[in-house]
Structure formats: C-alpha cells, structure tokens
C-alpha cells in the first residue's frame, strides 16, 4: 500500500513539474537584469518598476480586464436564462438547440473571429449601424463565444435539481418569480459561478477572436504581446505575467482555504 502511495506522489509531482516549470522559468527571468531569456546576468526589480510606467502595456492589461469582466457578466446572465429556457423545452427542441450551442465551441476560433469581423464590417458599411472596431465590438464578440460555456455549466445543475422543490415553493405561497430566485437560482448557483469563472478565463486567454475584432483603441494584452514579435517580447511582460500568476494563485488558495473552513464548521455543526 505504502509503495503505491510513493508512486502516486511521484506521478503527481511529475505532472506539477510539467505544468509549472515553464511558468517558473518565466518568473525567474522576470528578475533577470539582462533583456534576454538566454543569459542570467543578475537580479533586478527593474522590469517591475518599468512595467508600472509603461502605459501601453498597462492600458492593454486594463482593456483585457474590462472586456473579461463585462463580457462574462453579460454572458452569464444571457447564458443562464438560455439554459433555463433549453431545460424547459421538449426533447427534440432541446436537443437541437444544444447541438447548435455546441457548434461555436467545437468550431475553430479563427472561423468565429473572421465571421464576427465580417459581421461588424457589414453592419457598418451595409446596414448603416455606426459601429467602430473597438472595445464595444470586442465585448460583443467575447459575450458571443462565452455564452455556450455558461449554458453548458448551468444545464447539468438544472438537471440535478429536483423539480418538485419549485412546485413546493409555489404551493407554499411564492409567486413564480419568487420561487425562481429563492429556490431555482440558489440551487443552480454553483453552475452559474462555474460558468462565470470559465467565461472570465476564456476571455482573458483569448487571442484569435480578439485579434479580428479589436480596433485602434482597444488592444488587449495577448494582442500587445503578439505585436512585439518582430522585435522581441519585452521583459516587462514577464513581470506582468508573474504578477498575474501570483494573484491568481493567492485567490485560489484563499478560496480553497475558506471552503475547507466552511466544511469543518459544517461538520462540527452536524456533530453537535
């Protein structure tokens, strides 16, 4: 038994190394005095200081955050409503809509990017909608590709839910709206949150779709990094990536800690 434990630890360790070694390299070189990743010439905080004076990178980062948060909020609202709608459809309708929802997830991002760009251009040139490539188009496209992720996170929760609880709420004097937000919403909340977080993640990561739908005033971080490709990516990017990594890590740790504590408290309560 013990031997097995050692083996599984080794396996876990190997996977951790595999996942985190590249990030570790990046973190180490964010402290490198030299501009290159090729040679270590000394320790410095310079890149972090420079980062906070580099308006181009900071505004790209700001854009990325704005787009991620705004688009995820809207995608979560729309996606949750859509999931509830799909859930109450009959079998064939539901299946058809679910299949349609899968298509944007399955199809290559570049197709979505190009088609969204063409749509926006068409709207401006042929339909007279004064839409300029910029933050707005970026947010609209992120909402579009985030909705399916929310739907597929919420749907399973709806299926797990006991339908009778909703009816019971109605019997006990709730009107349909109250029953919805007092019973259904709390029941599917974990799915909604998961969908929201997933949407944020995808939105932060996205390069391909943003590339086609961003404009002169709305460069996101991935696009800014891409732009440096001919000259070379500046070490400030390493510094920024390190900061993002540490913040995310801390957030996850705090989240896990609080949920562990909550569990403990609940267990205690049960014992009493």
């Amino acid at each position: 038994m013990k031997r097995h434990k050692g083996l599984s630890r080794l396996y876990t360790g190997a996977i951790m190394v595999f996942l985190y070694l590249p990030i570790l390299v990046l973190i180490v070189f964010s402290f490198n005095r030299n501009k290159s990743r090729g040679a270590w010439t000394g320790f410095t905080f310079d890149w972090y200081l420079k980062l906070f004076h580099n308006d181009a990178i900071l505004s790209a980062f700001g854009n990325t955050l704005i787009v991620a948060v705004v688009s995820s909020v809207f995608a979560t609202l729309i996606g949750t409503a859509a999931a509830i709608g799909i859930y109450s459809m009959n079998k064939w309708m539901g299946r058809a809509v679910r299949t349609l929802t899968y298509i944007p997830i399955m199809s290559p991002e570049i197709i979505m990017g190009v088609s969204l760009m063409m749509l926006f251009v068409l709207m401006r040139t042929k339909m007279g909608v004064p839409i300029q490539m910029g933050l707005l188009t970026l947010i609209l496209s992120h909402i579009t590709f985030n909705i399916p992720f929310v739907i597929f996170n919420v749907l399973p929760k709806l299926r797990q839910m006991d339908k009778n609880t909703y009816d019971a709420a109605l019997d006990l004097g709730c009107n349909p709206f109250q029953a919805f937000y007092k019973v259904v919403i709390p029941e599917i909340m974990p799915g909604i949150m998961a969908g929201f977080l997933m949407a944020v993640t995808y939105s932060l990561d996205d390069f391909v779709i943003s590339y086609f739908t961003s404009g002169p005033t709305s460069q996101t971080l991935p696009i800014a990094i891409w732009g440096q490709l001919r000259r070379r990516v500046s070490p400030e990017m390493n510094a920024l990536s390190t900061i993002i990594f540490v913040v995310v890590l801390l957030a996850l740790l705090l989240g896990n800690l609080s949920s562990i504590q909550k569990e403990r408290r609940e267990r205690k309560a049960v014992r009493i």
């Binding site: 090729g38 251009v121 404009g215 000259r231």
Partner: protein, 406 residues
C-alpha cells in the same frame, strides 16, 4: 553715437531672432506652438498603428514620444501594435480604415499605393520633412514621395558566433554549409527567406520570373535539413544563449544582441542584400488627417527622431537626427554601412498578385513535410467522423432497447 546705433541694430537683430528661434524646433525642446497648438483643447485623438517595440516609450530616461506629443498638442494618441506587414494590410482591408497613422515597410507601401489605400500627404503641413536625407526621398516604393515619410531603415545580414564559425563570413552560402548542420536559423517569413536565397542565386529580390522562384524554392528545400528552426524574434534568445550559431536578421537587432554577447559578429554578404525602409503613412479615409500630419511632423523633429532611433536600434533616414547621435554610432559600419555596401542593396517592391500567390504556395511547400498533401484526407476524415458518430448513436440505442424492461 555710432556705438548706440550699433547697439540698436544688434538689439533689433536679437529681437528678430527670438521668434525665429522658437521656429527652429528641436534642440532645446522649443516647438512651434502656433503649429503644434492647432488642436489644443479640441479633444482630438489619433489612432496610431505601429510595430511592437518600435517607438521610444520613456524607459531609461529617453523621451516617451507619445506622451510628449500628447502634452505638446493636446491630441490623444491611441497606440496599438502589429507584428507583420501582412497583418497590417489585412486589418486595413478587412476592417475599413480606422487608423490615422500607420508604419508599413517599403514593399507594402508600394502595394497599398497600387491599391489606392493611402492618402496623399500634405507636405506643406509637415515642414520637418526637410530633415529627411535626400537619399531617402523619392524612393522606389513611392517614386514621387507623395504618400510616405521614411521612419527607419536597415539592412539584412548574417549574424554569427565566432565561437563556432571561425572562417570569415562573406556569403549567403554559409547558410547552406553542411558543417553547421543544426546551428543555422532561418527567417520564418517568406519574403525575407526567399529574398536572401534569390540573392545567393544571383536573382533580383523582386523577380517575377517563376522559374527563378522555383529554383529558389528548391534551394530552400535543400537547406531545410540543416536548419535548426524557422524563427523571428526567437533569434534573440537562441543567438544570445549560443543555442544557434548562424542566423540572417536585421542589422539593428544585431546591435542589440551584440550588447549582451560579444562573440557575435555581423556581415553583409557580397552577393548583396535587402535594404528595407519603414515609413509613416496615412491610410485612405483616415478621420483625423490633419492631426496625423502633426504627429508625422513630430516624428521628424531631430530630437524625437534621435531618441526614437536610439531606442529602436535601427538606422535613421533623418539627417538632423543623425547629427545628434553619438559619434560611435554614426561611424558604426553595421548601422550606417559605407556607400559601396549600400550600392549593392536592393529594396523589396510589391510583387504582382500571381507572383505573391506563387511565393506563398512555394513557401508552404518548403515548410510542409516531404510527403505531398493528399487531397483525399479531408473527405475521408469527414466520412469517418460522421460514421463514428452514427455508430455510437446506434450502439447506444441498441443498448437502451436491450436494457429497457418493456
């Protein structure tokens, strides 16, 4: 009496000089506010689209060009970046012109002029254009110099590590030398890769002869087994760490590498090379043309251009800015090669659409595996995938039927 008169004359002269001084912008940070102040308080903005890391951004105490321009003129600069000329082109073609200032390379400018994608500049409102060296006016890509103002230039050469390469390097043929198998890096963009191969074979960079292009393609295929990787900016890391020993790249970037690795050398091959120019233009339909011209003029100011070129590391076509550079840089044969070397260079020009297409497909041929692409792969894949999903559904249904108690 006489003395008084003289003094008066002197004072008059000085007085006359004062506004003149204010006009002679640059040096002491004095700019002509009547000119630069045109848009002050109007909430104007311009959209600038430039290469990444291609403008002085205020690090190391240098001028932050965009910020300085904003403070000077009150025009807000929306700055974004691209990585390749082709990317810039497709953005303009696909998304409609929303940019006011763009900085394409020579051949792309020629193509854009041919396709009527650029605005003619009003050189009356770009007085600092006079700082541009005669040599860089009326270039081949813009023969009457109506659409562009040169920003930087440079040459392509061979960067090599004297630790590995002991012989003197004077020819592109070293990139085909069996001896350095696995130590060679190569451009990952078709135009540069084909360009140097064409030079080696003695063709023009802008050949439209399809047999010559085919020959270059075969030559590149011969080289493939020797090449460690096809790269762009990874060249920096690979050359600095000694992972690779020979790479063709831009002169300005060599200078940056040489600061960190003193074993690196640069050579412009005897067969000749490409001299590239990146120039500032205004795309057709730009919403803020006048403000954009202010920006272009600002880039031509000697101090601004000098700070910019120090940051970028390439060579400047701006004579007044050149004068401001360190003597060491001015005499650097890598940055500013002697005339006989420059004579043996050739700029990229726009290729005809057919040739561009051929070049693309030949480059794909070079990069793809030796096995030819089978046109049946896609249909077979689709049939298999559809068959698989039908199969799964049938199997499921069958099992359900078997399991169901009714």
């Amino acid at each position: 009496m006489k003395r008084k008169k003289l003094l008066c004359a002197l004072a008059a002269c000085l007085l006359a000089l004062i506004p003149f001084n204010a006009f002679a912008a640059g040096e002491d940070g004095e700019y002509d506010m009547a000119y630069y102040g045109q848009f002050a308080g109007q909430n104007a903005s311009i959209n600038v689209f430039n290469w990444g890391e291609y403008i002085s951004d205020g690090s190391d105490g240098a001028l932050d060009v965009n910020k300085a321009f904003e403070e000077l003129t009150g025009i807000k600069v929306n700055y974004s970046t691209f990585a390749t000329n082709e990317e810039l082109y497709s953005k303009l073609k696909g998304g409609g012109a929303q940019y006011d200032v763009i900085i394409p390379s020579d051949y792309m400018i020629a193509r854009m002029i041919a396709e009527d994608m650029l605005e003619e500049l009003d050189f009356e409102s770009i007085p600092a254009f006079e700082n541009i060296d005669e040599q860089y006016r009326n270039p081949e890509y813009d023969p009457e110099n109506r659409y562009s103002v040169p920003y930087t230039w440079g040459t392509v050469g061979i960067i090599y590590n004297i630790g590995t390469v002991e012989e003197p390097v004077d020819s592109w043929s070293i990139l085909w030398d069996e001896q350095y198998r696995g130590d060679i890096l190569m451009f990952s963009n078709s135009r540069d890769a084909f360009g140097l191969t064409q030079k080696l074979l003695g063709y023009s960079l802008n050949t439209e002869d399809h047999d010559e292009l085919r020959a270059a393609c075969e030559k590149l295929k011969d080289q493939k087994p020797l090449v460690q990787a096809y790269v762009m900016d990874e060249i920096f890391d690979k050359m600095l760490s000694g992972e690779a020993a020979i790479a063709p790249y831009y002169a300005g970037d060599y200078l940056i590498m040489a600061e960190d690795n003193e074993d690196l050398r640069f050579s412009i091959p005897k067969e000749g090379t490409n001299l590239f120019v990146d120039a500032v233009c205004i795309p057709k339909g730009a919403a803020h043309k006048a403000a954009a011209e202010l920006y272009i003029n600002f880039l031509c100011e000697p101090r601004v251009a000098a700070d910019n070129i120090e940051y970028i590391g390439y060579s400047t076509p701006n004579k007044a800015a050149f004068e401001l550079l360190d003597e060491e840089v001015q005499n650097d044969p890598v940055c500013y090669p002697p005339p006989e070397v420059l004579e043996n260079t050739e700029p990229f020009l726009a290729l005809s659409p057919e040739t561009s297409l051929l070049l693309d497909s030949l480059w794909t041929e070079v990069l793809s595996t030796d096995k030819g692409y089978n046109k049946w792969i896609m249909p077979v894949f689709v049939v298999v995938a559809v068959g698989f999903s039908i199969g799964i559904n049938l199997a499921r249904r069958y099992r359900k039927k078997k399991d169901s108690p009714y």
